[in-house]
Symmetry: C2
Subunit: 411 residues, 2 copies
């Protein structure tokens, strides 16, 4: 099993563990309430049948009919029509964004079949939209953070900047400055919280929800989970209805885009952590034949094309410089683009020639990026930073930074 499969299995195992823990906690939190609700309903039903001398069977039939009517969007308190144009628009919005509240669902066979084909294209287009949005938001953040960094450098003294410029031999060392993934996560977190709080401030009075309920609704909607226990804009009448519906749409759109970006940035951090764990496990003796114990070794000569497989047994995880920081990180992240700065990457013996070519070029590229700001460096891999020759220019963090830098170019 190579290192990437190990990481995949580790992730699957950790998610399973996470699910088991979550199930236990939710069970403990919610089970008492469920029992209470069940007792309460039994009591309410008994009261009603005794008071009005209704046959329980007939009442059950009525309640079953009510359940069916519920499915068609009918409630005791009048709700907005489900399938007028505005309602249908809200419905298709929840389909393509995969929120799927379920407050409105197709009931006819034609509607169900149409939904399958409609959703297939719609969801794919929306995924693309989210990814393009993600790229744009990262671009914007990178610009802003670069500007702040630039200003900080200027305040610290122009001499620092110019000496860095000279050492890199380029016009502007800041061209290679890339923001940290942790800062980006922090900013997205703050943005998400701001959007959720603003939205809750709107929802709470309009829907008569408590503030916590509103926040809960915001998270469930923005993360596209969409339980449907709380759904905004369902009543027949609101004050300034059109404005509220528009605001609702805009908040959901902004929230979904923001939380999607946040999820993807967090997933990259999770991946770095997994890579680090796997690297630790591998280096702690599972594969004693690999080069983990040689901290001074460098994988690549600068600017030369040198196949990696000649140094490392094919199909074997093998790390350079005793550090997972050099483990390449070129996998599919929705929020990230880069086929990675290859270094210390084991590749299976076949189908690697072109990759080796890219890899070598990229490593030389990585060396150009040495002046990566110290401030951009934080996280679990920090302690390894000075152990190898590519300090600051190679590794998962640098790749992430590279990704951010990649996207910071206006495309």
């Amino acid at each position: 099993m190579n290192e990437d499969n190990a990481r995949f299995c580790l992730l699957a195992g950790l998610i399973l563990l996470y699910l088991l823990c979550g199930a236990a906690i939710f069970s403990a939190l919610e089970h008492p309430f469920e029992l209470r609700a069940r007792r309460l309903w039994k009591q309410q039903l008994d009261n009603f049948t005794q008071r009005y001398r209704v046959n329980l069977g007939a009442l059950h039939t009525l309640l079953r009919q009510y359940e069916e009517a519920n499915g068609a969007g009918i409630r005791v308190d009048a709700l907005r029509p489900r399938w007028d144009f505005a309602g249908a628009f809200y419905f298709v919005g929840t389909v393509v964004s995969t929120i799927g509240f379920g407050m409105t669902t197709p009931a006819t066979i034609a509607g169900k079949i149409f939904l399958i084909f409609y959703g297939l294209m719609g969801c794919a287009a929306t995924i693309l939209f989210f990814n393009l949005f993600l790229e744009r938001i990262i671009t914007m953040l990178a610009y802003i953070m670069r500007w702040c960094h630039e200003r900080r450098l200027r305040c610290a003294g122009v001499g620092v900047v110019s000496s860095r410029e000279e050492s890199s031999g380029e016009e502007d060392s800041l061209e290679d400055w890339k923001p940290s993934v942790y800062y980006v996560m922090l900013i997205l977190c703050v943005a998400s919280v701001v959007i959720a709080c603003s939205a809750s401030t709107l929802y709470s009075p309009m829907e008569n929800w408590s503030y916590v309920d509103s926040l809960y609704f915001c998270f469930v909607a923005f993360s596209t989970i969409g339980f449907g226990d709380l759904v905004s804009s369902q009543r027949q009448q609101y004050e300034s209805q059109e404005a509220y519906r528009l605001g609702n749409c805009i908040f959901i759109l902004m929230g979904v885009c923001c939380i999607y970006s946040l999820f993807n940035v967090i997933s990259i951090i999770i991946k770095q952590t997994l890579t680090w764990i796997v690297g630790k496990l591998v280096c702690s003796g599972r594969y004693p034949s690999c080069s983990c114990s040689r901290p001074g070794q460098k994988r690549f000569k600068r600017n030369t094309v040198q196949p990696i497989s000649s140094r490392c047994p094919a199909g074997r995880p093998c790390y350079a410089d005793g550090s997972v920081e050099t483990v390449c990180d070129s996998e599919t992240d929705a929020g990230a683009v880069a086929d990675g700065v290859f270094a210390g990457r084991r590749l299976s013996g076949e189908m690697i020639s072109v990759n080796e070519f890219t890899m070598s070029n990229k490593v030389s590229l990585a060396l150009l990026q040495k002046q990566l700001s110290e401030t951009a460096h934080q996280g679990p891999r920090q302690s390894y930073r000075h152990q190898n020759g590519f300090s600051g220019g190679v590794g998962a963090l640098a790749i992430m930074n590279n990704r951010l830098q990649e996207t910071s170019v206006d495309r």
Copy 2:
């Protein structure tokens, strides 16, 4: 507005149009049924109140209480307990996968707050899991398709293979062979249909759903929309219950992974189409100053580092070789890894030095990939293929192929 922003806006506009059309169609399909359901429920309620002489107000109160009880998972016909461990596990599964059926939702404030933090990490981890799965499935498909291609070449005559090998100067020309995105989409489509049909064959008798309903449930669950109008494994008792629950979990997991991959592959095709449309629009005269009209021009000298900005006004869309095929496609696609074969890509004047470096290297890399199989070439950009110097090795399709080739290396 540059070409990427144009594409983004075009996509947003098209999605809006798609939503409006969908809303109109769903409204037409479902509105009559809603009216019928409303009439039916009114009639049922009238019958009941007349027959049992129940005060309508009291009945409404009971129905409101029933709605609340519904929220806690109570139905007339006994459902499985919501918050025992198995139920809570199903619940957290729908949370982290963002399906969010809503058959079970936290009712306590503690549960709601915990959900926000639990979901944040869980959804991010699951997105990573889906992306790693996507990579693995594409890897597998690329291997299988390469094997088939290899066999076809052998059947056609070994001479063809060896001459290709010689022209590429590498050990095996098939190392550079990459499967077509359209084939990958087709295979994922077939796989999704097979999984959905198999799952429906299981659900249909177990849940007493019609086959169309089962297929509809499969799509809604697998695409993580999760309306919750139909939810599997909710009754208290099933034949061979444990096996059914396990099968349900496995089918949902497989289905979600497969449809996620399918969505991402479709989103790449949508993006290619958008790029093609934008390219068409740009070349048809909006930017007459660009080099569209010079079909023989080449952007890059082979293997040389040459800044693109020297030929093209900064911040302006500019295409080489009169072809959108040379438009770089290095954006964030969840299902794809590659910062792209840069060619004919306009970049804003700043922050491009390192990118130019990569770009030039990548173009030379792209030229190495000339022997890309003809069979892998299909799609909207086909007619442009022979107009430029990078035929088969550059452009959106080639990038997609490159991505597939990238992922076909066992990492």
